[in-house]
Amino acid sequence: MHQNGVKALDGVSLKIGPAETVAIVGENGAGKTTLVKHVTGLLKPATGVVTVDGKDTRTTSTAQLSRRVGVAFQNPDHQLFSESVEEEMSFALRNFGFAPELVEQRVRWGLELFGLEEYRKSSPLVLSGGEKKRLTLACILAWDPEVVILDEPTVGQDSIQKEKLAGTIRMLTSSGKTVVVVSHDIEFLWPMQPRVVVMKAGKVLGDGPAAQLMQNKEILDSARVAQPQLVEFSERLNKRPDVPFADPLEARRWVEETV
């Protein structure tokens, strides 16, 4: 898919292919969520075109585009409404025309994957914040979109929940899905070594592999994006590694070999 827009977004051109992991970073107001909304046609470009899977977002409804692109918005309270968790999960499936037996199957699968079976018959509104977020993600994965976009998935989550989320993302990419994560949480994104798109004031300042972009102080400072701790650490060493460490274990191994 690629696009080009003005005002809140200025001349953005982006192509994202299958099985990619992309992180979109930038300060609040940089246009990240606006960009995401263009992907499913919630917003239409003033100039330029957005195509998803060959379809133009101006002539296809959001509901149809969402069949291919699942978006997990930041606030689960903006979408939970059913009497039970299982109904909540079947909502989208029924909208997309899944047969009843398949609906049942997908609901069961989703609940299991996210450890929510015990809440099957409970009202989604009584779940905790973290559980609600898992539920909204489960709802999306149930209809098996090719692309999954997560808008600030780590807000308010503790480290255990974040680990699980990272695992889920790994699972999605390894099964061939494209995952786009919009997030401030650089530390969460860094170990995944995604392709990083840095945005500021509606423009794309940089687009490339995490290792490369996170070393670009100029872009990071301009976009007010923090540098991952391990990148700063790698840079400050006199004898530097070729590529900044992706996680502490890698760093430890290297340090212990060279000290």
Partner: protein, 248 residues
């Protein structure tokens, strides 16, 4: 929904009219409203409407008022048709239809030039209980917030395959349920959070709270109020005695 917001939601302005004491603005709108009810001919109504347009121009809200008039005119076609069916009188039906537009505009003029703070002041002047005034002002303050929430909820549900633009009337109403429920739930949660914040800032600690800002009527405001009443009296007099009823 959009025209409703254009017609009744306050937006900051710097015109002389905006700066009037809200009680003067209220008086003007009430008098306009009353005048509309007194008119008996299309000429008189045209006079009242042109006055309203003039005020709108002074208040620099002409475009919004014009748009409100246009949309209200759409609704008033219904009134026209119904009236015509029953009275078979073209002029009366037109009068009633146009009167509806005038009524809406007179009310709209007040709300679009008066901030919630000023509304609060007006309500206090009428000695309404503090809780009522507070509830009202807070509700108005959250209108734009709820508007935004609604859009976000619709976005979220559309992204789950909900079609809000297709289908017949019944289907469309049913499809609003996944939008209305989160909206209502969020409002309830919001009230709870507001209550906590209110308690935490000592709401109700003292029977007569003080006020940071004081609103005092200036001479200009009083002069405008007097002029408005005088104009109204003149209009009423002329409608009843100078230009006898041509149409009832």
């Amino acid at each position: 929904m959009m025209w409703l917001s254009g017609g009744f939601i306050f937006r900051r302005g710097t015109s002389v009219y905006h700066r009037l004491d809200p009680r003067a603005k209220l008086l003007i709108s009430i008098l306009m409203f009353a005048t509309t009810l007194l008119v008996r001919s299309l000429y008189e109504l045209a006079g009242v409407l042109s006055f309203m347009v003039a005020v709108a121009a002074v208040a620099m809200v002409l475009r919004r008022v014009a748009r409100t008039m246009l949309f209200t005119a759409g609704f008033s076609v219904v009134i026209f048709v119904l009236n015509f069916i029953f009275t078979r009188n073209l002029e009366t039906s037109l009068l009633y239809a146009a009167r509806f537009v005038a009524i809406v505009v007179s009310t709209s003029l007040f709300f679009i030039t008066t901030s919630p703070d000023e509304l609060e002041q007006v309500m206090k002047t009428f000695r309404l209980p503090r809780d009522v005034v507070f509830a009202f002002v807070t509700a108005v303050r959250f209108i734009p917030v709820m508007f935004l929430d609604t859009i976000q909820i619709m976005d979220a549900q559309k992204s789950r395959g909900l079609e809000l633009e297709k289908g017949n009337v019944f289907r469309r109403v049913r499809n609003m349920i996944p939008v209305l429920i989160p909206l209502v739930v969020n409002s309830v949660v919001r009230s709870g959070e507001l209550a906590e914040a209110m308690e935490s800032r000592a709401y109700g600690a003292v029977p007569k709270p003080t006020s940071l800002v004081e609103y005092r009527a200036r001479t200009t405001d009083k002069a405008v109020a007097v002029a408005a009443v005088a104009l109204f009296a003149l209009a009423a007099y002329s409608f009843y005695f100078v230009f006898p009823a041509q149409i009832l």
